[in-house]
Amino acid sequence: MMIREVSTQEIIKVVKDLCIDANYNLGTDVLAAFDQAIENEKSETAREVLRELKENARIAREEKAPICQDCGLAVVFMEIGQDVHITGGDLKAAINEGVRQGYEEGYLRKSACNPITRKNTGDNTPAIIHLEIVPGDKIKLIVAPKGGGSENMSRVTMLTPAAGMEGVKDFVVNRVKESGSNPCPPTIIGIGVGGTFERSAMLAKKALLRTLGERNPDPELANIEKEIFARIEKLGIGPMGYGGTTTSLDVFLEMEPCHIASLPVAVNIQCHAARHKEAVI
């Protein structure tokens, strides 16, 4: 087996470009979902908000401007093939350097700060880095900037096992209801069921990386996604919480085994500025 070399210089460049691309260019799946929602939405006030979102995405793309002023914390997922050798220095330092350069050169807002003193770190680092070793000799990088408004509405809970799937559904729907207008609806809902406390949150976050419309391959879980989506639609929250029939654009659920004594559930709420871009080196 040949070892493939990838330099940190290349990683810096790719991370930088992904930070900028993600912040300027909303995914085509989200744009298509806006179009669909404009057609189906019953409230005129809500349709006007959706039209603004569509127009906003067009202006951002054409003028190379951030979709939203909250350019988020830079969440970076990296899958490293086990036959890759990274050369030229510290990998995590390289990811952070890419974020630093991307947020500076892209005129993106830097939102990372000390949790208590609130002093801004000045360059949007440290990035939130998730590394995974996978088979192969490639590196896959995903940059998913995450805004504060929707992240603040996300929660993890440890249900009693007896609560079962009904308990999971109720927890998710209530969370969306209580979040109201705060996470900038229409939202995308990432749900992680199982694992441990932190694993459930990771599953919920990863679920948000799916393309809109992509169902869980397990038909039973796919049906639960649809059922939760239908219940959320009935909440009437609507775009920006002004009332309407478009509250979420999609619901993604991921499930893994957990401890016999637990039922961890995480809900990660993503706003309509659903930014994630990927590249393979």
């Binding site: 202006i59 939203c68 005129y107 807002r109 009437g236 002004y242 009332g243």
Partner: protein
């Protein structure tokens, strides 16, 4: 229920009394920006009986922390931030004559009561529509607290700045009424 209205700041009591929840308003003239840190400073000045760096009478404050301006542009992307963080400070500013606030998300009952008592309104701007809103801002200059960076108080000149009335002077709330209209079961 909704109408589209053009208004120019500073706003009068008459201007705001005509507004109803759900109305689409295009604001023209001047807006001042401010977020948590700037609000805290204004609040402390009021508490100490000192003069404020801006006269809030008839004015509208926009809760925003924009992205850095690209060369040749007055401002970067500039959508609203979540308003509840300003709730502890807003009633006092409304009492001093502030006529409007622009942000996203719910306000506290104390803020809603102050709007009713002293005749002011809360507008929502579309969260995440930062690039679109930036096009309606023609000029931006820092008028106080430059050390706060994106949180400094800026004076914005705006043209047809798009907002929706969320709380009017009668104590109505679009979040409550809009949602109850479309909620099922």
């Amino acid at each position: 229920m909704s109408q589209q209205i053009r208004l120019t700041t500073p706003l009068t009591t008459d201007d705001v009394e005509k507004l109803r929840i759900g109305d689409k308003v295009l604001l023209n003239g001047v807006l001042f920006t401010g977020r948590d840190a700037a609000h805290k400073r204004l609040f402390d000045l009021i508490h100490d009986g000192k003069e404020l760096p801006i006269d809030v009478k008839g004015q509208v404050i926009y809760y925003v922390g924009p992205t850095p301006a690209k060369p040749g542009k007055p401002i970067g992307s500039a959508g609203p931030t979540t308003s509840y963080r300003m709730d502890p400070y807003s009633p006092k500013l409304i009492e001093l004559g502030l006529k409007g606030m622009i942000g996203k998300g719910n306000r506290s009952q104390a803020v809603i009561d102050a709007m009713k008592q002293f005749r002011a309104v809360y507008f929502g701007a579309t969260g995440g529509a930062g690039a679109l809103i930036a096009k309606r801002i023609k000029k931006a200059e820092i008028v106080a607290y430059p050390d706060l960076g994106p949180e400094a108080i800026r004076r914005l000149e705006v043209e047809d700045f798009p907002v929706t009335v969320i709380n009017d002077t009668k104590g109505n709330d679009l979040f409550v009424e809009g949602i109850s209209r479309y909620a099922q079961g």
